[in-house]
Symmetry: C3
Subunit: 418 residues, 3 copies
């Protein structure tokens, strides 16, 4: 039965034709899934939440990533900390996934009790030779950028998170994202491999037919890299876009708003990200159906509404920050063919629902977009499993970032000896 | 843990005692399942539908077989064609499983658009170097026999489908099976391996106690091969059957109705089939409770009602064609322990429900029989997984065709180097 | 992808730090699960029921254990017998799991018919060379101790069941456990590996916070092995317990009630068990909320109510026999992470519900306790799968029997060459 000897992942990935998709089995094999979790979700920095998940001391947010689980907690000094969600005695989960508020972290099994700084305070019946100081909770590396909570399970987390931080922190600063609240959050489970979810997020070729709500505000050209392959009409539209974009960015820059694209997408960098201040269509204010702000109370102390969309891509998240709200999505693979997508809509901490904003208006674009993407990812996943699938070429103009994502994936595998 | 090294499938199959069943693990192992799908469902001709699934140009029927999916479509010239259900761009499924009607085949992801002849007509943004002619839909080999749609995913499909075609086409011809409609169709998922579903179909030893409805019309002796092992009463019944059958067949033959048994069941042939015109019990007309026709408008231009049952077995289907209707079942393995069984009841295209036929009367025998078989297959599957299971002997008189099916399975594995 | 080569089970188990838990993957790996089923559930004696499951001749109780299934039947001579639940023809299950009453055992597939002594009586169509005597049902080794039905699927079952029998039979004798009926039975499926279910059962460290109902009658000190690690209060409590226990046991012994602890827990013995007559808290009568008997009609011909709790542990069961009732639980692994726990409450065969006993009062302690344990096992299982889990130390005073269970597990693997 030699036909069922699995090809090594690295070989499979490196066998792809340049500019074409990955072979289908990298989206379905259990061993590839486990490697992906290990490398891309346990050894890289991943986005797992926002500071508004734990607004007060004692607030806990537990996030499961594969078989791992992290407790994110705000301690009594207002610092956000992260620990392995595993009791140091017999390994019981300290807290269920989700949010809660605690005084101490008490294991439900035998009541081992930990301070919010992770130190073991009480453990009955452990004998005179027991050294509690060896049994503190295991910390998880944590970095807050803007409001984004990044964690890394590796012993030595990639140092280049610094580049993301130094790029994004000044761009997020005027929005005061730590002074926000979660107006709404959603969770959907997509029937597709996480890499196909990310591929879907990295192009807007599918937007025209697939996302009628999003394309009210989102300009597909903003993620197109070249005119190659466009028809005359397309080239004209791209030229017009480029001209208007240059003007708009010049205007923003003149007021000090950081605009330029920064990309760290090569397979040599561990911490994959991209940012740019993107134009918004229509009235140019926000990702809403009418392209105007959905929250009358702007973020931070902003007064200008047409600040565009400061987007941030990482390998497991996408963020759009507008003057009135931020929309932050991150994904977590559940199985080779199931991926959790969590989305949070943030508004100013003092904004009042029903007065400053209406939840439906705030969320309807991305609620619809996420659902549409989920069904596209599902048909992509199923078809890519077909033995009759031969990966086709990416569009050179509209799918360049998909190609780069796949290239990054290949590079990181190689960097980890796969 | 040497006890968990899996025995190679070929070795397992060839280790069976002559005349006895297969070892239980060939029904449950995932690797065996994948080999089975690859060899028996992707490299052999399989039955996947009837022409009445796609009666008009633009009609589409999508059938999933394992991870593969085939689009069966009637083109503008009334030809039935088959394609891989995979977009040549990023592999998305073009159509969901089931039936629909289309003008062109448009991929829901990025709107790549294919003609019904499979050629790629539109693909935006693909650049000046893009050669659309290399991106037509991949055809799947297709052969229509009577009304039966056979497909084969192999590059070089077995040539001996010709033998099935030359045998069956003249037998089906008088029934004009392409001039039929689907009066009813059913789908059940059986809790058993596909080979046990087929074993169950290849003997009527279980009919007496298991199928009270079917045995009104179906004569168990018609699938018994010898009197070996029968008691006196059984031998007498078989003798009586043989005598009556010889007379009946002589009568049919004198009118030109082809009757004789044709069997291609050896492991040397790729395209496994059997046919014979079988007597029907009671009034001898149809597989109904009262053994009379269920549809007053006979198939084709037939006037004679007692034409018996022209049956056709293949390795994934069974068909019974009577003067008034045809009952066609085919199976598709879903997992090692789940098998889809689809059944279609065909009547004359001009027959009118409620006037010419009543759906309940038409279908009740095989609806009941399929359900009964499903529960027998389920207990067979579970028991055959028991570590205490030792395959027992097939009945030499009533289970000979089961033994031949298993022999064919073994032979085909060998022919594919397993 | 060398990181995904699985470590051999034996190596994993022997790598555990002395006094600490097993590495997490022994609770989740499919191959370990299959080894566990093979060794601990098919090659050792396991508890699978009570004689009251089959009170009358022809009564059948079918129990599935992994892919194996056993028919327990009381024959016409009142003997309890056990057979593989597999037809000797094509392997069909003879009976569904659960209880029923039969005259003969008739296979639903082809009506092969077996006597209650397992001999094949009828099999149609099998030919003149067929030897029915070779096709009797395959017996399963069976041993009844008290009321407990132990079976072993091995060809040569461990002989040391004799030690369990000679120890337990005289202790159970006064209770006349075969003269009981099942007042209630429950089934729960715990979301945890079977070894974690057993670990949970082998310590009462978690009782104080976890089992408010059970600790009304159950004295945690009764399963503590030493004062090591206890605080002053704990030591005082243990001393008081030991003193009272010595007095109580002396009183019982003076009346001839067997009390002393017998432990066969070492990895050198196949048949793992422990027994002792344990004190009951409060009024000292029974494991009820008010610690008094729940059934006014005592077991056997007993008149004394405060006979303590004669407990019996095996590697897949726990039993508590009090003067008025017995509570018997056994477990069967379903998957690496799911374990069935069946519990039966036995009372005197002549006790009348609503007169002698109230089912709620009889069962509420262990119904609550089982549910509480199920949720503790679930959080233990999930946490122990976390890549951040490092097995911690067992409490030397309160988790000594957990350590012994793990040691026995390791020893038995080694004894089977793992």
């Amino acid at each position: 039965m030699s036909e069922f000897v699995l090809k090594p992942l690295g070989e499979l990935v490196r066998s792809r034709e340049p500019g074409c998709g990955l072979p289908g089995e990298v989206f379905s094999r259990q061993d590839v899934f486990e490697t992906d979790i290990d490398i891309f979700f346990h050894k890289h920095w991943i986005m797992v939440g926002v500071t508004a998940d734990v607004p007060e001391p004692g607030d806990v947010s537990v996030v499961d990533i594969g078989k791992a689980s992290v407790i994110i907690v705000r301690d009594d000094d207002e610092n956000v900390r992260a620990y392995r969600n595993v009791c140091r005695h017999r390994g019981a989960r300290l807290k269920e996934a989700g949010k809660s508020t605690v005084g101490m972290l008490v294991c439900p099994y035998h009541q081992w009790t930990y301070d919010l700084d992770g130190s073991l305070r009480h453990a009955k019946h452990m004998g005179k030779d027991f050294d509690a100081t060896c049994r503190n909770l295991r910390p998880v590396h944590l970095k807050v950028v803007g409001t984004h909570v990044f964690v890394c399970f590796a012993d030595e987390p990639p140092a280049d998170i610094a580049k993301l931080e130094e790029t994004m922190a000044p761009r997020f600063a005027p929005y005061e994202l730590q002074n926000t609240k979660i107006a709404f959050e959603s969770e959907i489970i997509e029937d597709g491999n996480w890499k196909l979810v990310m591929e879907n997020n990295r192009e807007c070729y599918h937007c025209e037919a697939g996302h009628p709500e999003l394309t009210m505000s989102f300009i597909p050209e903003s993620t197109s890299s070249s005119a190659d392959g466009m028809d005359e009409e397309g080239i004209k539209a791209l030229d017009a876009y480029n001209k208007l974009n240059a003007e708009t960015q010049a205007n923003w820059e003149s007021e000090g708003w950081l605009c330029s694209a920064v990309e760290e997408l090569s397979g040599d960098v561990a911490t994959h990200f991209r940012t740019e201040r993107l134009m918004i269509g229509g009235h140019g204010e926000s990702q809403t159906i009418d392209t105007k702000v959905a929250c009358q109370k702007l973020l931070g102390n902003l007064t200008r509404r047409d600040l565009g969309d400061t987007h941030m891509w990482t390998h497991n998240s996408w963020t759009h920050v507008m003057s009135d709200h931020a929309m932050i999505s991150y994904i977590i693979p559940l199985t080779p063919e199931k991926t959790l997508c969590r989305t949070k809509w943030l508004v100013h901490a003092d904004a009042v629902e029903g007065v400053d904003y209406d939840v439906t208006k705030l969320t309807e674009v991305w609620v619809a977009t996420n659902a549409q993407d989920a069904s596209l990812v599902a048909i992509n996943h199923r078809g890519a499993q077909d033995p009759g699938y031969i990966p086709g070429p990416y569009s050179p103009s509209t799918e360049n970032y998909v190609d780069q994502f796949v290239g990054w994936y290949a590079g990181r595998l190689k960097a980890h000896g796969i």
